[in-house]
Subunit: 195 residues, 4 copies
DNA sequence: TATTAAACGAGACGGTACGTCGGGTCTTCGG
DNA sequence: CCGAAGACCCGACGTACCGTCTCGTTTAATA
């Protein structure tokens, strides 16, 4: 009777089936209507097998997102030596990802959970958000060193200025998330970066 | 045969009690655990009286937020003639509102619903979000006319740049929402406004 | 996918608790006020456990009656060789049973359901009524063979004549159900049996 | 503020509509599903108008039965001088009435209520049952006087013996309620009457 | 004939129970 | 002996009616 389940005995088949079923279902039904029972049934798995390995629905969805092909781009940013070009790719990539139907379902689900579940929110930040921001920070630091941007740049604030506009429009359903918008937002932010 | 019930016969007492009970409960329990039955019980009202007038839990919470004392500041912005000072007040006010425990509960709830309920999302934008943005746009337009900011300013983008950073940090739980941060974000955005 | 749930997995503990709770409650409240929720609560059981195994309130009460100690006497009739004495015991037993507070509650409930639910009515007849009548018919047939009663006796009609008066007074609330009445009704019926 | 509503102002139109709607509905739905709201809606009447004049659903149904064309035969029995012929008409009439679809619905409803509502049960006995039995008793008393039946006849018991078999078969759903059965039951009872 | 108080149609209200759904736990049984 | 299957307790869901309580609107007995 394993108090903490023994990872060694875990069935890889079940784990994969659960995450795959979750990825399928999240595109078919709203996150609120996505239930553990439905996941278990779709995966051909007992409910207990889910509860044994994940603490909540949000945690399953989080893992399913990480597993998914539609997962977000890795934390690396290109360094072509041209900070503007590199950031343009970042912002355009964000717009594309946020409007990709497969990925958007996952991300809306994560947004919902982040508002409610502090633990999952922390996991989301540590596993996804902060690494991404660190990558951008690194690239910006290189740009500072190269003299492409102002020397006294506040890296955190710069990231917020770059990503905030796109993120806000997406999370509030304001629309207008095109690559043109990404370019315009970048230009506006560059005004500060280069001030 | 009231397909839509007759508003004339509606009990103001019940309406107020429901919204007040909702405002109380949303601070006591998480939004996911907030149920119609609990609202009805707290308000001393039959469940049907809620279902008769609101289509969903989110709609009740929305109305409760509008009714609440902790409601967001009205859409008006001061016009002191100094655009930087006026925007500073806006951003600081945003930080204060977003960290006020009473208001934050409502807003997190709205964020959750916006991700799921398109209709409620549209109502939220039309009733709250767009009027606020329009007020800021008006103030910015006045600043353009006064020559305080660049003549070719993209008003929508300017608003995104001003509010996006604060909004993103709040909605992703990144913390750091102080008045100092508000000032720093304003300064950064002003680099674009005045470019 | 248990369209019909698997009886093998059924919890005997729950089944017994439900029927016991029903037997208790039916004496405390009128049948109309007896609700599934109250039974579930008294039995310490989820409502679904009742709905899973019984199609209606009436079916639960029927099973509870069968299970109850206060259940009706078994279908066997004594055969002392004296048909009048044996029938006297039958009729007196009926009067006693119909005026026993514990049993009467159950029987009134069954009467109500029989008027409304054809399926339950059929079950009641097959499980209780017809076996009892068959036992009486057997005893009467023996009396015919022994020459105690007329040779051309109509067994069904004889049973109706014996039991009808008592049953009618009880079901219409006419009162007067004493052992003396049982004896008088028997004597009257015997006039036909022996004609 | 009329504690007891003034019968003088009562709307005959409403009263008739309510009883007519009840008579219609009782044939369309089971008695358990017959609701005050449905009666009010069908009658084009406010619910309060029903509650003002009747204490319960059963009381409405009772009045509707009395009002109905399908009402039971009046309490008078023919007196042709031949007690057997007169009782044959009584029993055949009972069988016909109990198998008339219109009347049967009402009577099943009354049976249900009698089991539950003592007050309504008393009203049913006083208004319908006992007058009918008194009429039969009168006819039997005349037969005693005429020397057609035994001098020491117990009138109550005789009525029970005559009507009990038919009533029991009907109320228990045993079937077999034909005019032939009525004749057979009469012959059996006559064995006692004439003993 | 005009007044006026009631009964009326309508239906919102506070409740109670319904029958269903799904959550998270516990038990059984087959591979 | 693991894990799928699923029964269990629980609690909320959204619905249906209950019986009560306003609302205006007829309507019929007075004044």
């Amino acid at each position: 009777m394993p108090e903490t389940p023994t990872a060694a005995r875990r069935s890889e088949r079940s784990r994969a089936a659960i995450l795959a079923a979750t990825a399928e279902l999240i595109r078919e039904v709203s996150y609120a209507k996505l239930g553990i029972e439905a996941i278990a049934a779709r995966a051909g798995v007992g409910k207990q097998t889910i509860y044994r390995w994940w603490p909540s629905k949000g945690a399953v969805v989080f893992d399913a997102m990480l597993e998914s092909d539609s997962g977000p781009e890795g934390p690396a940013l290109p360094d072509t030596g041209d900070i503007a070009a590199d950031l343009r790719q970042l912002l355009r990539g964000s717009v594309v990802a946020l409007t990709d139907p497969g990925f958007e379902s996952f991300l809306r689900a994560m947004y919902i959970e982040i508002q409610q579940d502090a633990e999952l929110g922390a996991a989301y930040r540590e596993r996804l958000l902060l690494p991404q921001r660190a990558a951008v920070a690194d690239r910006l630091a290189a740009a500072v060193a190269a003299g492409e941007v102002r020397a006294d740049l506040d890296l955190e604030l710069a990231i917020d200025l770059l990503l905030g506009p796109v993120q806000m429009r997406w999370s509030l359903g304001l629309g207008g998330l095109t690559e043109d918008y990404a370019d315009a937002a970048l230009d506006a932010a560059l005004a500060y970066l280069r001030a």
